[in-house]
Amino acid sequence: MSDFETVAASENQAARRGPSGEPGAPNQVGVPGKARSLAGDAWRDLRRNPIFWISLALVVLVTAMAAVPGLFTGNDPRDCALARQHAGPSGAAIFGYDFQGCDTYARSVYGARASLLVGALSALLTGIIALVVGMVAGYFGRWIDAVLSRVIDIVLGIPLLLAAIVLLKRVNSDSSTVRILAVVFVLAILGWTTAARVVRSSVITAKGQDYVAAARMLGAGDGRIMWRHILPNSLAPAVVVLTIALGSFIAAEATLSFLGIGLKAPTISWGIDIDSGRVHMRESATPLVVPSTFLALTVLAFIMLGDAIRDAFDPKLR
């Protein structure tokens, strides 16, 4: 559709310019726009994908929730009174109150901030580590690749949850900033391997391409080839993996907080609320279901978003 519009627009322009227009102009009209870039192609696909829009809307919604929670609820999540324990939904609190007598909905809304912060920072850090390691290993190959691949194997050999537990036990501080940074750091140093492997394999594929050989024959150095030719071609799969990883980092943070070693009160986290909701599920299920739904939808949104972007960027699947 958009093609048609561009062509129509340029035809109009050409018509308006008339015979006094540039000599080359009429010829260009016949060509349906200039050759689109890979990103342009992907964007055209994405625009038509409802899953992309739904997940993007959810991501925007959660981000807004994390930034300005006051927009979504007027209640204070820390205003708890035991007198209201497990009180049902009312005009004041649409999902009722939990075991401690706190507003279930307000707590879930305020829980978005910590989760999103941890997810985004971990994904960023992971991306940096993965790009550097994957590029170096994939491009230089030989013993560097062997060493880095072994390092990846070793890190992959450590069960993530277990190592995170062991590492986080070392953090004794109760300051919420310290704990958030600790969780970010732990998730990043344990979680970069998958992305690094993806980068490595796409770098190896890109390295064998003719355009890299051409660049090398033209005298380009390693740095230039890596930066100008290989990085742009291995970035797309990395971004997809990282979007999905962001979702799983949010899930991992909630899991750690659920176990009682990630974030701790007074920080509000979905994981903590799910754990306390689970303990009291026989009395009232809403304090379990509401934060669970928030968490699941958020993780889902990021995974769906990554999935949609991958489908758009991977021409093989089209």
Partner: protein, 312 residues
Amino acid sequence: MFRFVVRRLLQMVLAFFGTTLIVYALMFAGQGDPIQALAGERPVTEAQRAYLTEKYNLDRTGVGGFFYRYFDYVGNLLRGDLGESLTGRSIGEILTTAWPVTLKLALIAMAVTIVVGVTAGVVAGMRRASIFDNSTLLLTLLVLGIPTIVLAPLAQYLLGVKWQVFPPTAGAQPSLYALLLPGIVLGSLSLATALRLTRTSVAENLRADYVRTAKSKGLLRRRIVSVHVLRNSLIPVVTFLGVELGNLMSGAIITEGVFNIPGVGFNLFRGIRTEDGPLVVGIVSVLVVVYLVANLLVDVLYAVLDPRIRYE
């Protein structure tokens, strides 16, 4: 092939030392005063302290002492002696009781993954963009997007407490039926990944040149799919399943915790909470070996399944 296996074994040894060293260092550095951790709130007498220091070689300080204890520990591990937990129970014994439970759980999860995931993946891959394909894609997305800490308590609440289809917790001697729900919960995650992997792989292979050749030779579609496409498509799936089995064996801490299943993951979590360093390090090292061996087998299997792969 032989050279490849030998090289892979050497890499495995390296990975084993690297991983055990890291895990041991983390536990060792994170422990504070292990003797006080053992005693809890109670005071420790000098004699007890001296005995424990002697027993666990705690008198050697600094880097030398650390490596002394590390090699001591690895030596014991290689002799099959996993030592005792701080509570005095033999770790080997703990694992012997816990392992069958975890294995049973992992096998149930694996069976669910293979039977439902791979089968549905093949069908979805053959009928891309059909209603079946689209609905399975959406369903797997949902499953992938729901973390275990949501899935396990919700399944427990709905099926165990509310509708009472399954027992909500497993208990000390879990029957197969009691493990079914946790197994399905555990398997659902790998199910979704296996399904998508199979689907993509089948769909890609169906467009390969050799399929066209087979078709033009006049082979039956059934034969093309079951012999040519399936063998090639299942390569990444087999890799994934092997790695996943390693993961499942390493214990589903959350699932075993929520459903109260006395498996490896459950013991592990208890060990961490009670600062039981030897127990955690013992279990983790065994799990690491399991994981590494699973990876090795997967790699060898990979080479057997896919002759296009050359390891040199």
